[in-house]
Symmetry: C2
Subunit: 158 residues, 2 copies
């Protein structure tokens, strides 16, 4: 079934991955979250082939995660820059969760290369589960619960 | 540089994605987080071709995310079941962050198919940033901060 939003899978994880499931897309988004906007900077920081970068940027613009703008410096031709949309910015938690898992389970010998900081308090933050009061809930206490009658409900399969 | 852990990228997001960057791997892990353990159940629930499932399960076992066990029912041959390791279980936050983003930015017409519930309080939970006191921090206030002198530090590139 194709929904109004143009995406088919019933699983929201799958719908997200349809947009960003390849590694280069994630890397471009990470770079955008670090403040990179210009083609040459994406290329140099990521060591990515220009044709692959062009392709991934176009895909991410089409998906509504990046917005393309034009800019021009004195004496130069018009160039494009790429900026996170609200939806792209909201992937911050996804990137942070991937980062946190990697730093714990595949640690780098010399320690993390990127930290997550609360600019208001200046303190470091983690990704976690939070209840509606804004209090952290232990990961061990959280379960994924299929909605009864939805395609994720397997009780009717047996 | 290859580190002791056998992974090369300096970026922890990339190290995580090296393990689970394809969509089927994420789907198998989601299924495991919903409690599925048997080959036939993974196959039926995911509508995945057996050869692809065999391949993904082996990859996830090799990566240390799933553990393979043997079981036998009366009158049947020995079969394998697949169980989350501690590292695999710890991907709960990654899956939940992907799910949450999809439910917000690519919503399903009939609503979410899977919820996240705190089994202690019975309440629904979200994924968010939390400080060391366990208090939620707004996503807008959190920045990714390259560690000075690390490969993510671009200040020395210019």
């Amino acid at each position: 079934m194709i929904t109004k939003t143009g995406t088919s899978p019933n699983c929201s994880i799958a719908r997200t991955l349809d947009l960003v499931s390849d590694r280069w897309s994630f890397m471009v988004l990470r770079e955008a979250h670090l403040g990179t906007t210009r083609f040459a900077d994406f290329r140099d920081f990521l060591h990515i082939a220009p044709n692959i970068l062009t392709n991934r940027l176009a895909t991410l613009v089409d998906a509504g995660l990046l917005e393309k703008r034009e800019y021009q410096e004195a004496g130069e031709r018009t160039r494009s820059s790429y900026h996170l949309t609200a939806a792209g910015a909201d992937l911050k938690l996804v990137l942070a969760a991937l980062q946190q898992w990697g730093d714990v389970h595949r640690p780098r010998e010399d320690g993390p290369t990127v930290l997550r900081r609360d600019t208001r308090s200046g303190r470091l933050v983690n990704v976690g589960f939070v209840d509606e009061d804004g209090d952290e809930v232990s990961e061990d206490d959280v379960v994924f619960e299929p909605v009864a009658g939805s395609p994720a409900d397997r009780s009717t399969w047996r």
